[in-house]
Amino acid sequence: MREITLSQAVNEAIAEEMRRDDTVFLLGEDVAEAGTPFKVLSGLVEEFGTDRVIDTPISEPGFVGMAVGAAMTGARPIVDLMFGDFIYLVMDQLCNQAAKQHYMSGGKLTVPMVLRTNMGATRRSAAQHSQSLQALVAHIPGLKVAMPSSAYEAKGLMKTAIRDNNPVVIFEDKLMYQDKAPVPEEEYLIPFGVANVLREGTDITLIATSSMVQVCEKAAAMLAQEGISAEVIDPRTIVPLDEDTLLASARKTSRVIVVDEGHQSYGITGEIASRINEKAFYHLDAPVLRMGAMDVPVPFSPALEDITVPTPEGVVEYARKLMSGEMIHAA
């Protein structure tokens, strides 16, 4: 199968959907000629013109709000938010406006829009360009949240997002844009709420989102050398969450580590861990562990930044502790 980059995969998904449905359009800063700073959207303006690939001023709340309005009146906008960190600027439009229209109108209004943005540290971009803020939006009922972990995932999830009748936020890992993966030429979609079991195992389950999937796959390979069999699962979408697959794995292995690049406190990892505690408690041999980014603003210095995010070695260390019973606090 041919291999393409995550960036090309997103580009293809959007182009295919724009060809299929002429209500789909793109909106954001430097999305047209520049094709975004990460060059993800290059070529789209040439094919679809400036009416459907629209460069905006640096007015995030303004153009996100306009996407909400366009979506409520029949279009399917895809908003490009250059950095995930700018989510803070658009919180009202996203969380008060987009997320609630369907409910508040008694099901009469819909907001079929996609907000595509990014996440991920270690790019030496400091505290305002490195955050992984998926937990903020996952907290809000009415928003769906997708977290692609490869080029294949990115394409399939983007196509589903565009066809979904709800506001969907997609977080792409900005460090993965150039990573290649096999992606079929034929059309495919990846349904929301269906987790992907990347590696089967019997001793421990590693649940990982986006950038952390690679980390956990590496950790699983290292653990295999030590005779520890790890299962790696990518939930793909945080909202909706495929609880069944996660719980089935927890029941099988009895030990779980949840890894996500958002801050560890009050985050995605805590939510998933507590669902497993609530629904698979009887089957667990140890507490479910959370591994997130350190609870600090992302520091600029490479010497500091690299230690703020989970690493394969860190996951292995936690897994060993779980296996040896060290994490059972029986004091």
């Binding site: 460069d55 709340p61 400091a126 010497a303």
Partner: protein, 327 residues
Amino acid sequence: MAKAKTKSNAEDYLRMYRQMVRIRTFEDNANQLYLSAKMPGLTHMYSGEEAVAVGICEALTDSDRITSTHRGHGHCVAKGAEFKEMFCELLGKEEGYCRGKGGSMHIADQSHGNLGANAIVGGSMGIATGSALRAKLQGADDVTVCFFGDGATAQGLMYEVMNMAALWKLPVIYACENNGYSEYTKTEEIAAGSITARAEAFGIEAHKVDGQDVLAVNELAQKLVARARKGEGPFFIELMTYRYHGHHVGDINRAYYRSKDEERDWKDNRDPIVRFRSYLVQEGLASEEEIEAMNAEIEQDATEAVAYAEAARYPDVSEVDMHVYAD
């Protein structure tokens, strides 16, 4: 070139020249660090816009404050920062202005009243206006200058704070550095109507000035700062300028959004340093030799600071969770 009133300001003029060259030299070295893969991440060069920061900051004292932008090295130098601490910060070293935690986009220097660069476009507008509110509440005559780009005029925050600044007559000067572009887009494609009229709508006195003419910028800044100290603010200045490099150091192929001819025209015909240098020589304020000596001294200073920063230590890993909360 705006005309000097008297030659008695020779010292001030030479300092302005020196500060502009210091900025250019700092940026050339920073760019070199990037090109030789010694600098982590990306950075935005101020080269070409020196007269803006210097013309304004030379009208301020250390107790006056500024807020800066993602393109913030020029403001930082102009407000009095040292090369060593700046290069250390760019390289993420312990002795940097922010102990390596901020980097280029968050560089700050409180000792000279620089409240910091900002990686959120328009993100410092509230901070600058709040700093001016503080001066007013305190009964101090400090002035705050808010630097931002043409692109930042698209942020709604600007209109909220300008309204309050005007209502409450705050000592703040909004300095819009109009370099013709926000990232890869021309200003006229993202800003409808007139930029100064935006401020005028709130009853804020607004001026437009040639940002490549350090004397013109400085003369206007002196007047407005003095008036702001007396409670006549706020003010707004649109400074017409140009960035020589790409949006950031990695933006090398720019032909799709601006022409080489345009770049050459600004560099060859309107360079703020070249213009001011020939003015100084013509007016007999400095000889060519004196200027060459000054340039060489600044170059030497930068080379030493870079070497120092390269050899400097990274912060200890134990610092990672320090400074999240104040004691």
